[in-house]
Symmetry: C2
């Protein structure tokens, strides 16, 4: 077994050469990775079966087992995902700005790779290939620290991808798996400033919190989404209902699902009863404040936790507010800076909401569920950032790069 | 005395309103601040005298006393700096990108304020006004934690600026001073994730290191610059000499001064003796490897520390390398990702150096001393970033902002 430091050193040594690869070479290698994943499906599924068996033995819950499970169809999907990353434009080398100073110096701001990207994630083997492909296309090497409970699957996926890289004439250390699956290795990884340029934690709230609070390597905080829909006084009923149903129920375990519904008191008088009836008919459990309880018999009183936490399931909090200001204040207090939505016919209130609500994505008359790389047109993503530094929202290829300034002179000195 | 938390809460409460100020209001307030600083010079100088007296008593070294000292001329300069920030374009509200998705959603990426910016700095009262003006123009409130040894000066500057803000109809809490000057307050400030969006440490290596290693608030690492000049085989002697003299001696205590000179072995044979003679004539102490020692009698053998640390004074390390590859490898090993320079007539080697050297700023045939906000045309700056996340190089107005996505629909839901 390689130690964490050995894996990190390998990734760091590879970063220099990955950064210099041209687009064609990177694309050829990504194609080779996709082919190899498809061809290696049998081997990968066999290794995944070991993780699955151990998961069942240790009582892993059914939804987690489903996320862990690989079959041939899923591996072909993963391979297709790698091919989609190949088809995205290469972000590296783009000249973002260029100007000439009065002294004749030409300054260019050019997009460059991040270097070594570390990712810490849960038992989702698809992330292994997604993250490797994205980092590679973005010119960085990657250090993958997946869950111990998916280790056999991850090791098989990485083995297959590394062999493909090598065959394509690229250093296999562009994709490195952390073989030390101890918790201590995570804590150590969070502090490897000499080897890792960026860490992206991807998973549940506690995994992200651990990274954010303990890392000395710069972190891109992703994920938790306590998203709100606010229905303004002027909102059209049909539009509001469609957005609320979609935001809450289209997929419930995801970070861009709605968790709290806020309703203007006047709109509530006219429309909240039928809307809540629709939601309970869809098996959504309701937790509300006293004013909301007037519109539904089947409502649990909301506690502080109902406003603050994600349900990630068929439940939602409902609050009544006097106006858009109160809605924005509630959201800025309880939101996690992910995605917030207003349904309104008022341009003025839409504008106020857009300016006042502090979130990566602010939607007017559109479901919160659109916040992801594919829906934004970025392609695959490494997560959704909820911090304000570096990148907000979907982390596509450009969001995992850096830039440098190139200054070209003819001997200029400062006087 | 306000506690740190009270100051942080005030800054946070102000951030929401500062973010919404239009350009005209911000500019009017900045003008008022500049006027008030000039008018308050007497009061500020009097308070500064208290800090100076205590500094002398406690044996503060002369260069630090000079940085701490305020007189009327310096305060007028500070006021002029605030006016220069006023004249910079307002970065807030700029639409960075805009596109329409096939489903009709319009997505705009818009520049928005960071929120609350915390700055931790040394006994340089000019930073107090610079940072306040920059943050304010960038739509953020600022929490200033200056050195205890400059507290009277900082408190006077902040009092004057806050009074001017209030007179201009703006919340004075846009500019908050941390009144608790204990070390514990710094440690606590680094972890105030609920109140501070970004912390910028500005000062010496240990101050920055403390912030980087202990903060849970996102940090923009600034500063230390172990900058190199590499003289390639084909370099013109006059150009190389001018750049080396300028990079080393034009100002020595700054982060963009050259600390190590690397020389191609062939160039060294022809030109290094006279160059080193020139440098010793300018009182630059030389530390070199064995090969470099051949070209100068007055050279101390270089140790690991000579390659790794900044001198910030009239001293430099000198190393001989076989080619541009070895130069880049040395720089990537010992550099601090600040500013690196090649002097060359070879377009090919310039290109290799640009691509391979990992630094915020890579110069071809130009002194390292150009890396700052004014020289880049950004205006005043909050520091020079040496990290790869968020912003590299000079931190001007745009670099202390964030962005958000505004998604506008007509009722779209995800299917």
């Amino acid at each position: 077994m390689k130690t964490l430091i050995e894996s990190a050193k390998a990734a760091k040594a590879a970063a220099g050469t990955v950064a210099l690869l041209d687009t064609e070479t990177k694309n050829r290698a990504l194609d080779a990775m996709a082919d190899a994943l498809a061809a290696g499906a049998g081997e990968i599924v066999a290794k995944n079966a070991l993780d699955m068996a151990r998961g069942r033995e240790t009582g892993m819950p059914e939804p987690l087992l489903d996320r862990l499970m690989l079959n041939t169809a899923r591996i072909l999907e993963i391979a297709e995902g790698v091919r989609q990353v190949k088809d995205l434009p290469d972000p590296i080398g783009e000249v973002l700005e260029k100007w000439t100073r009065p002294n004749g110096l030409v300054i260019e701001k050019v997009r460059v790779p991040m270097g070594v990207i570390g990712i810490i994630y849960e038992a989702r083997p698809n992330v292994t290939a997604d993250a490797a492909a994205l980092a590679f296309k973005a010119g960085s090497s990657i250090l993958l620290r997946g869950s111990a409970s998916a280790f056999e699957s991850n090791a098989a996926l990485v083995r297959v991808m590394r062999a493909a890289l090598e065959k394509a004439g690229v250093t296999p250390d562009a994709v490195c798996l952390v073989e030390d699956t101890s918790r201590e290795a995570v804590d150590q990884m969070l502090k490897l400033r000499d080897y890792i340029d960026l860490i992206i934690p991807r998973g549940g709230a506690s995994l992200i919190r651990n990274a954010v609070l303990n890392a000395t390597v710069p972190v891109l905080e992703t994920g938790t989404g306590n998203c709100h829909v606010y229905i303004d006084e002027s909102a059209d009923y049909a539009m509001a209902e469609a957005i609320v149903i979609n935001a809450k129920t289209q997929r419930t375990g995801v970070c861009n699902a709605m968790e709290t519904l806020l309703v203007h008191e006047k709109w509530a008088e006219k429309h909240l009863s039928p809307l809540l009836k629709t939601m309970t008919a869809k098996n959504v459990a309701l937790h509300g404040d006293r004013a909301a309880a007037l519109y539904c018999e089947d409502m649990t009183p909301a506690t502080e936790r109902d406003w603050a936490d994600e349900y990630l399931g068929l439940a939602m909090a409902v609050g009544i507010v006097p106006d858009v200001r109160a809605a924005a204040a509630h959201i800025n207090r309880y939101g996690t800076k992910h995605t917030e939505c207003i349904v309104t016919a008022s341009a003025e209130n839409a504008d106020f909401f857009r300016k006042t609500v502090d979130a990566a994505v602010v939607n007017v008359n559109a479901s919160t569920r659109f916040t992801d790389g594919f829906m934004f047109g970025f392609g695959a993503e490494l997560g959704i950032s909820t911090q304000k530094l570096h990148a907000r929202g979907p982390l596509g290829l450009r969001e995992i790069t850096s830039y440098k300034y190139l200054v070209t002179g003819t001997g200029q000195i400062r006087t």
